[in-house]
């Protein structure tokens, strides 16, 4: 790792002030992605602003609209333990990485990083969740902006994510067994006003909604509604773990499984 200083603010306001001091300052969530990245010398911050000491962005609660509200600094383990009203979200959180990783990694860190194979982006996009920052509220449909890119500004911190609870939902993850990221993951959520299907791990553009499947499922929420539907292999991630065509095939398979299990 290159040398850097660590600051541990105890409030969001102090963290934002530290981040705004320099473009070279960077926020540190649970570090389960950023620390390996630093070890590979792929990042060289001047100051790492550690968010783990900020109690005001930790914890899970339910708001007046019945939404599950999760602080940005809440670990995957705490999300799994606290989101019982949304079983698909619990399953997703408790199948990230391994137990030790889940005790450090945070929902805010995962979303801000927007790894194209991460699980949370699929849950947030399929749920139509709202990402709350120190500056504003961002709808899930406006948040993700391509591989490793989001709508977040420099120095903007995810303080909370609000999940509406669907009538039915399921997340199916085809795990890449070495990294435990999703080779392909599909999150299906059925609300009173429609079905949302979000796919992670597959596209070079990062998480996306499979709108064709959503339209088919809106009329008939069953796996048979998906008969004959497929996503094109163009623009799918192709690497040593699987070709673009293989991933495209998996998208359809995992979507069917999610609908059947929802």
């Amino acid at each position: 790792m290159y040398a850097f200083e660590i600051e541990r603010p105890s409030t969001v306001a102090d963290a934002v002030a530290l981040l705004k001091q320099s473009d070279e300052n960077q926020a540190l969530g649970g570090g389960q992605t950023l620390i390996p990245t630093l070890k590979q010398r792929l990042a060289a911050p001047e100051v790492l602003v550690c968010l783990s000491g900020i109690d005001e962005i930790k914890g899970v609660c339910t708001d007046d609209d019945g939404r599950i509200c999760i602080g940005g600094g809440t670990t995957h383990g705490e999300v799994a333990a606290g989101s019982g009203a949304y079983p698909a979200l619990v399953w997703m959180a408790e199948n990230i990485g391994d137990p030790a990783v889940r005790n450090r990694g945070t929902i805010g860190g995962s979303l801000a990083n927007n790894d194209p194979s991460a699980c949370y982006p699929a849950a947030v996009l399929a749920s139509g969740a709202t990402v709350v920052t120190n500056e504003r509220e961002i709808a899930a449909d406006d948040f993700f902006d391509g591989m490793f890119a989001t709508a977040l500004n420099e120095g903007e911190i995810i303080t909370e994510v609000k999940f509406p609870v669907p009538e039915k939902a399921n997340y199916q993850k085809f795990e890449q067994p070495a990294s435990r990221f999703a080779l392909v993951g599909v999150f299906v959520a059925k609300f009173a006003d429609g079905v949302r299907v979000a796919v992670t791990g597959a596209s070079e553009e990062g998480v996306f909604r499979w709108t064709e499947a959503e339209e088919a499922l809106n009329g008939n929420f069953s796996a048979s509604a998906l008969d004959g539907l497929s996503v094109p292999a163009d623009g799918m991630i192709s690497d040593l773990h699987g070709s673009g065509a293989y991933r495209a095939h998996l998208v359809a398979v995992m979507t069917r499984r999610a609908v059947e299990a929802a």
Partner: protein, 161 residues
């Protein structure tokens, strides 16, 4: 460089660290507690698992500065002062849950954390929990058997597979 203070195995510990000093390096190099191992240094293998405020974490994927003010427990903190081992440690010995021993500190620390949350796990739950702990010798069977035995379950019918 900055001063960091924490409690390690029930005793106050402090030292000068850089921002980039990992918790595992502080534990091994500054405190001289070399029972916590570094296998992969990429948070895959789990040889460096310690408890921070009671939760299992990979000490290679956390900075020492982040452990400021926490209670850290390492493998050296498990056995009693007189050397009496914990039920998990005894079971690893009795059921040959190790061969070369390199992964054992992390295995034991993960097992202790698991049994605290789930005192009577199934074999599948044990295997699931150990996803982040890699052993290249044993094939895991005796590790799983040891942990089930440490939880007080009868393992006489678990045959080697």
């Amino acid at each position: 460089m900055a001063q960091v203070k924490m409690t390690v195995n029930g005793k106050p510990a402090s030292g000068e660290v850089e921002g980039r000093t990992l918790l595992v390096d502080f534990i091994r190099d500054t405190l001289g507690l070399t029972g916590t191992h570094v296998g992969c240094d990429t948070s895959q293998c789990g040889a460096c698992v310690v408890h921070v405020d009671g939760k299992a974490v990979k000490a290679c994927s956390m900075f020492a500065a982040e452990a400021e003010g926490t209670e850290v427990t390492t493998i050296e903190g498990m056995a009693a002062e007189d050397g009496t081992m914990t039920p998990v440690q005894k079971a690893f010995q009795e059921f040959h849950g190790l061969q070369c021993g390199f992964c054992t500190p992390g295995m034991v620390m993960s097992a202790e954390a698991m049994l605290k949350d789930n005192p009577s796990p199934t074999e599948a739950e044990v295997r699931e929990y150990l996803k982040g702990n890699i052993c290249r010798c044993t094939g895991y069977h005796n590790i799983v058997k040891a942990i089930l035995a440490a939880s007080g379950q009868d393992v006489s019918n678990i045959a080697a597979e």
